[in-house]
């Protein structure tokens, strides 16, 4: 088994992202890092593309080329109108330590584990021993240590031009200056399950035309095959004076220890400039017209995600351009199986004075410990300037018109969350410039029943005179899962866009300045320390950084991701019946299934956002003619969401729907016999949760369109300043625990959920909890969050164009 795991791990490790990308379904849209066709405006060229292949337990540092510096400088152009555009487009993709332990199961077989162990018709005075040791321990230890440092220092400059002291006119016209930086960090994703679909991570650094088939269902396993466990241990028709022993020892414990440690630092220093031009002391007019300065930064951190599931699908798709095509999600076919366990230990018709021992020992169960420690520091500084222009002392009129500044900052933090349950799915779609499409065929949330039935019997019947008979079944359920996640994430974004700081002064003619707009967009998404312990699980994150014209298609009938309610029954019978005179008879069943869930969440968040925006502070003084100043508008929108230390537990807390029928009997016992019937039925549940969150958020915004001067001009002067519109929305949710009963057709909720408490079915719950966390995106502010689908098990969200 271990070798199979290792081989699969190696396969993933070696082929990494390319494994999925090279699949036949992707043939029409194969990824080619050298393909530079993405050119929506005719100017975008991906300068740097770094893909770090994943490797098992490999440490990836910035020595792998993650430091990207690109500088273009078109300055010092004299007297020549410069209309060239400057674009810096940097992309970093880091993917490391994606370990997948995958045990595939034949899609059609039922799984049976049968043990029959016994001594029958043994001779007088014989010694008969049957011992079966069934040791099935799966020990999985995963240790991931990842350090990622991304430093991007990019400058795009079309400004700093000088057209001065010309006898004729002096004129400067600058082109647009654009910077786009995209960073994706994917580290320490551990998938531990018996069956799997795929872990596609798809990145397109260009426009994309065509469908993405995210998973091939032709080889998809049936979810949840039936499982039957039959164990029969018996001593039957034993001889007089014989010693008969039948023992089955089952040790089905699982031990999973996952240690994830991720340190990620993203340092982005992006500066776009088209301003700081001068036209001074020309005999004619002095004119400055600057282009726009656009800065866009997209950072996605996906760290320390542990999935313990039987069947799962997880995918991430990033398209750094426009996408025309559909996303076809996998069909997970099949239904959930049942678990049947029959165990019997019997001593029957034992001989006189014989010793008979029948024992079944089982050891399997759950004990989960999840320790999450997340430290996030986000520092974003956005500087936008179109002001600080001067048009002074021109013989003609002086005119300044500064451009608008638009800043949009979206942050989403999803850290230290645990989802426990049977079915869970979530789809997050970010289409930053609009989505014209829909989710088609979402699961309808139909309930399925999983039956877990257990039948245990320990019997001594018709025991011989003077015989000693022991029939015992011991079930001690214990398996341990430990997940330790430590994530340290530092995001430092310094974003500057400048079109101002121009001078058109001392010209004999007029001095005119018209600056372009400055636009800054930053999207910062961090997923860290999230654990999903579910049977069937699907999660998709789709980021389209341009427009998306297409649908996300799920197969409603086949996806099978429906909420499952477990029913079950335990029948346990212990009996000494028709025991012989003077015999000692002991029948016992010890059934212990103590479950424990311990979660320690420690979340520290520091967020600092500094916004400095200026379109004002312009001067148009002492011109001989008129003086006009018109400063641009400022529009700033900040959306900040954090969800941390959450536990979703879509099951009943204090009761279940299982039945237990227990019977301990001594009947028809022989004279002078000792008969003991014992059942110990111990099912204890313990939950210990410690959540701790410390968050400090500092936001400082200095916005100015005023402080302009138009003094002492010979003509009249006019100042018109722009509007300021500042919006800040934050919604943070920490330390929440939800254990709710899934809604079933046969078990409708007794009370209508009250909005105030947000209770109700699992679907509504998740909708409530995740519904407010996604950022609105899009540079033009025309997008909104929309709930596309809602089921009892999950929800789907999209960001789409406002109606």
């Amino acid at each position: 088994m271990k070798n199979v795991f290792k081989r699969i791990i190696s396969l993933f490790a070696i082929s990494g992202l390319a494994l999925f990308l090279a699949s036949p379904a992707m043939a029409s849209t194969e990824y080619d890092p050298n393909d530079s066709t993405f050119d929506p405006s005719g100017t975008y060229v991906p300068l740097v593309v770094t893909v770090v292949p994943p490797a098992e337990n490999q440490t990836v540092t910035d020595s792998n080329g993650n430091t990207n510096t690109a500088i273009e400088d078109n300055s010092n152009n004299s007297a020549v109108p410069d209309q060239s555009n400057s674009t810096v487009n940097g992309v970093n993709t880091n993917s490391s330590n994606d370990n997948s332990n995958i045990a595939t199961v034949d899609s059609t077989d039922s799984n049976s584990n049968s043990t029959t162990s016994g001594n029958s018709e043994t001779g007088a005075g014989s010694d008969n021993n049957t011992t079966t040791n069934n040791k099935q321990n799966n020990n999985t230890n995963v240790g991931n240590q990842t350090d990622i440092n991304n430093n991007a220092d990019a400058t795009s400059d079309t400004g700093n031009n000088n057209a001065g002291m010309n006898t004729g006119d002096g004129s400067v016209t600058t082109g647009n200056s654009d910077i786009a930086a995209n960073i994706i960090n994917l580290a320490n994703t551990v998938i531990d399950g018996s069956k799997s679909m795929a872990l596609p991570v798809i990145n397109y650094f260009s426009d994309l035309i065509g469908d993405i088939i995210a998973g091939d269902n032709s080889s998809a396993p049936v979810l949840g095959s039936d499982l039957n466990l039959f164990q029969i241990v018996s001593n039957f028709l034993t001889g007089n004076g014989s010693d008969n022993s039948s023992i089955v020892n089952n040790n089905l414990g699982n031990s999973r220890i996952t240690d994830n440690n991720a340190n990620t630092d993203n340092n982005l220093n992006l500066s776009a400039n088209s301003g700081q031009n001068t036209t001074l002391m020309n005999t004619g007019n002095g004119d400055v017209v600057t282009g726009n300065a656009n800065v866009a930064a997209n950072v996605v951190n996906f760290l320390n995600t542990s999935v313990l599931a039987s069947s799962w699908w997880m995918g991430m798709v990033n398209v750094f351009g426009n996408w025309m095509g559909n996303l076809v999600l996998p069909s997970l076919t099949g239904s959930n199986g049942s678990v049947t366990s029959n165990q019997s230990a019997t001593n029957g018709q034992t001989g006189a004075d014989s010793d008979n021992v029948s024992i079944i020992n089982n050891n399997n169960g759950t004990d989960q410990t999840i320790n999450n420690n997340a430290n996030l520091i986000d520092n974003v500084t956005a500087n936008g300037n179109t002001g600080d222009n001067q048009s002074l002392a021109n013989t003609g009129s002086g005119s300044i018109k500064s451009g608008d500044v638009n800043i949009k900052d979206n942050k989403l933090t999803f850290a230290n969350n645990t989802v426990v349950g049977n079915q869970w799915w979530m789809m997050i779609i970010n289409s930053l410039h609009g989505w014209s499409g829909a989710l088609i065929g979402s699961p309808d949330g139909t309930m399925q029943l999983v039956s877990v039935s257990q039948l245990q019997s320990a019997d001594n019947s018709q025991t011989g005179a003077g015989s000693d008979n022991f029939a015992t079944i011991n079930n001690d359920n214990s398996s341990t899962t430990t997940v330790n996640n430590t994530a340290n994430v530092g995001n430092m974004l310094e974003l500057s866009a400048n079109t101002g700081g121009n001078k058109a002064s001392y010209n004999t003619g007029s001095g005119d300045i018209k600056t372009g707009d400055a636009n800054i967009l930053s999207n910062l998404i961090s997923f860290a320390n999230n654990t999903f312990h579910v049977q069937n699980w699907a999660m998709g994150i789709i980021n389209v950084f341009g427009n998306w014209f297409g649908d996300a298609q799920m197969d409603n009938t086949a996806l099978g991701l429906n909420t499952v309610v477990t029913t079950g029954s335990s029948d346990i019978n212990v009996q000494n019946q028709n025991t012989g005179a003077g015999s000692d008879n002991s029948a016992a069943i010890n059934d212990t299934a103590n479950s424990q869930l311990k979660i320690n969440n420690d979340l520290n968040i520091e967020k600092t956002l500094t916004v400095n925006v200026n379109t004002g502070r312009n001067k148009s003084d002492i011109n001989t003619g008129n003086s006009d100043i018109q400063s641009g508008n400022i529009k700033t929108e900040i959306n900040d969401r954090a969800v941390g230390n959450g536990l979703f537990l879509p099951v009943a807390f204090l009761a279940s729907d299982s039945n237990a029928n227990l019977a301990a009997k001594n009947s028809n016992t022989g004279s002078d016999s000792d008969n003991n019937s014992l059942i110990n039925f111990l099912k204890n549940m313990k939950i210990v949760i410690c959540n701790k969150v410390n968050m400090v958020k500092n936001v400082a915004a200095n916005l100015n369109t005023g402080d302009n001067e138009a003094d002492m001009n010979t003509g009249s002067s006019s100042i018109v300043t722009g509007n300021i519109d500042f919006k800040f929305n934050e919604s943070d949710k920490f330390n929440f625990i939800k254990a709710v009963i899934p809604k079933t057709p046969s078990n409708p909720p007794e009370e209508k959920p009250e909005q105030e408490y947000g209770s109700g079915g699992g679907g509504a719950l998740i909708a409530t909890d995740l519904g407010n966390v996604l950022p609105r995106a899009g540079a033009d502010g025309l997008l909104e969050l929309a709930l596309l689908g809602l089921t009892a098990a999950g929800t789907i969200w999209a960001i789409r164009r406002r109606q």
């Binding site: 088994m1 799984n111 584990n113 099935q136 799966n138 499982l227 466990l229 699982n254 199986g337 678990v339 399997n364 169960g365 049977n422 877990v452 477990t566 079950g568 005179a581 869930l597 400063s631 807390f653 204090l654 009761a655 227990l662 009997k665 001594n666 016992t669 004279s671 016999s673 008969n675 003991n676 019937s677 014992l678 059942i679 110990n680 039925f681 099912k683 313990k686 939950i687 210990v688 410390n694 958020k697 400082a700 915004a701 916005l703 100015n704 005023g706 002067s717 006019s718 100042i719 300043t721 509007n723 300021i724 943070d732 330390n735 929440f736 254990a739 709710v740 009963i741 078990n747 209770s759």
Partner: protein, 579 residues
């Protein structure tokens, strides 16, 4: 290997799904029947199914938001022509929502069912027969919530402070609107707990046809109490500082007319705080038991003993501490404009100023709905047809006391400083007319505070009818027949509320103190309306109980003896009922 792995996976998943100890329905049968002479027979079942949850939530959140927006501060002075300043609008919306320590645990609506049938039946002579069932099914929830949240929100918006002075032509200043909205919504320490109804069941315990000189013992212990400990502590500080200014403009000393006109200014603050809200619901009815105990047809010189211990008390302890400080300063100013000493007319017109402050504070709310079931107990205990010189004992201990304790402590301070200013304008010493028109000023404040509110609905706290029948019937010669029944039903409800609420306000509304004097032409002043509307509602220390159906209990004891031997029936009832 595949199947093993799948097994473990499925079992692991199932382990979480079957999220409980006590099964929905359990049937336990324990019997020693037709035992041999001089045999020793023991049959026992132990069921342990506890649910324990210990949850500690600690949240420390600081939101410091500081916004400065300026479209004013412009100068168009000393121009040969006209000087004109028109400033844009400034608008800031800051919305902060914090939701921490929110726990919702939903139990099944169905009560746990339990059925036990324990018997020694047809025991052999001189045999020893023990039948025993122990059920221990406690549920314990310990929830500690601690939240410390500070929202420091500050805006400074300015469209004023403009100057158009000393121009040869006209001087005109027109400042834009300024609107500030600060909103903080805080929810902390919410607990919503729903658990299933009390365990119900049929219990039959009997020694029947016991043999000569045999010992027959039956012991049944059933314990199913629930204990909830919920402690919430919230410290919330909201500090708002909204300073909105469109005034302080000047258009003076112009050769032409001087006009100074300020835009409207509004400062709106909304503070919504809800902390320490506890909701406990019991779904379904409380536990009902139907118990039959009998020593019937016991052997000569036999010892027959039956004992039942039934413990089903619930305890709920809620401790809430809330410390909430709201410190709000909101100022909207459009006045203090000047149009003086112009050669033409001097005109000042200040915009409207409005300040709105809304507070909604809820703290320490407990809503307990303990179900509507009756929790009846029916007991039928009989010694009948007892053997010669036999000892026949039946003993029943029933403990169903409940305890409810709620302690609320609230300290709420609201400190307000609200100012709407449109006055202090001047149009003096103009060669033409001087006119001042000040805008309306309005302040609208609403404070709603609700603290320490407890509502209780239900009857599960140990109510329910009791119907006991005890009889020694056709007892053997020289036999000892005893039936003892002890009922301990003590209910306690303690609710302690402490509240310290303080509202401290400074309200300044001003449209006057304008001046239009020493003008060569007319001097006119028209000051705006001033309106202040402040509403304060404070509610604390309320205890409400809704439907108290079934809160009375009815106990019916009937005893009968028909003795040849010694017989004793003892019934004791200890405790008090609610209402």
């Amino acid at each position: 290997m595949k199947s093993k792995y799948l097994l473990s996976s499925l079992m692991a998943a199932a382990g979480f799904l079957v999220f409980t100890g006590m099964a929905k329905a359990s049937d336990a049968t324990v019997s020693n029947s037709t035992t041999g002479a001089e045999s020793h027979n023991k049959a026992s079942i132990n069921i342990s199914s506890s649910n324990t949850a210990a949850i500690n939530n600690v949240a420390n959140v600081r939101n410091n938001i500081n916004v400065c927006a300026n479209t004013g501060g412009n100068k168009a002075n000393m121009n040969t022509g006209d000087g004109s300043v028109v400033t844009g609008d400034a608008s800031a919306t800051v919305s902060s929502s914090t939701n921490v320590n929110n726990v919702s645990l939903q139990g099944s609506s169905s009560a746990g069912g339990f059925s036990a049938n324990v018997s020694n039946n047809t025991a052999g002579a001189k045999s020893h027969n023990d039948a025993k069932v122990d059920v221990d099914s406690p549920s314990t929830l310990v929830l500690n919530n601690s939240a410390n949240i500070a929202n420091n929100l500050s805006t400074r918006l300015n469209t004023g402070e403009n100057k158009a002075n000393m121009n040869t032509g006209d001087g005109a200043v027109r400042s834009g609107e300024a609107n500030s909205l600060l909103r903080a919504t805080t929810r902390a320490n919410m607990a919503d707990i729903a658990f299933g109804g009390g365990m119900s069941g049929d219990i039959t315990l009997s020694n029947m046809r016991t043999g000569y000189d045999s010992d027959n013992d039956i012991n049944a212990n059933i314990s199913s109490g629930k204990e909830l400990y919920i402690t919430s502590e919230a410290v919330i500080n909201n500090n708002f500082d909204a300073n909105v200014e469109t005034g302080d403009n000047e258009a003076s000393k112009n050769t032409g007319d001087g006009s100074s006109r300020s835009g409207d200014a509004s400062a709106t603050t909304e503070v919504t705080t809800a902390v320490n809200e506890t909701r406990v619901r019991q779904r379904g009815g409380s536990g009902s038991f139907d118990v039959a105990l009998s020593n019937n047809t016991t052997g000569a010189q036999s010892d027959n003993y039956i004992r039942l211990d039934l413990d089903s008390g619930d305890s709920v302890y809620v401790d809430n501490i809330a410390d909430i400080n709201n410190d709000i300063y909101a100022k909207a100013e459009t006045g203090d404009n000047q149009a003086n000493m112009n050669t033409g007319d001097g005109a000042v017109r200040s915009g409207d100023a409005s300040v709105e402050a809304t507070f909604s504070t809820r703290a320490n709310l407990a809503d307990l709905n303990m179900g509507s079931g009756s929790g009846d107990v029916m007991v039928d205990a009989t010694n009948s047809h007892t053997g010669y010189d036999s000892d026949n004992d039946i003993r029943i201990d029933l403990d169903s006391g409940s305890e409810l304790s709620i302690n609320n402590q609230a300290q709420i301070y609201n400190q307000l400083d609200l100012r709407a200013l449109t006055g202090y304008n001047k149009a003096n010493m103009n060669t033409g007319d001087g006119s001042v028109v000040s805008g309306d000023a309005s302040i609208d404040g609403e404070l709603n505070t609700t603290a320490n509110k407890t509502s209780f609905i239900g009857a599960a706290m140990g109510s329910g009818d009791m119907d006991v029948t005890a009889s020694n019937n056709i007892t053997g010669a020289k036999s000892d027949n005893n039936i003892k029944f002890d009922l301990n039903k003590e209910n306690e409800m303690d609710i302690n509320n402490a509240m310290d609420a303080c509202n401290d306000g400074v309200i300044v509304n001003h449209t006057g103190e304008n001046k239009a004097k020493e003008n060569t032409g007319d001097g006119g002043i028209l000051s705006g309306d001033s309106a202040v509307d402040v509403t304060v509602n404070t509610s604390g220390g309320n205890i409400g109980s809704g439907a108290m159906d079934g809160m009375s209990s009815f106990n019916d004891f009937s005893t009968s003896q028909d003795l040849n031997g010694d017989g004793q029936i003892h019934v004791s009832v200890d405790g008090n009922d609610i209402l």
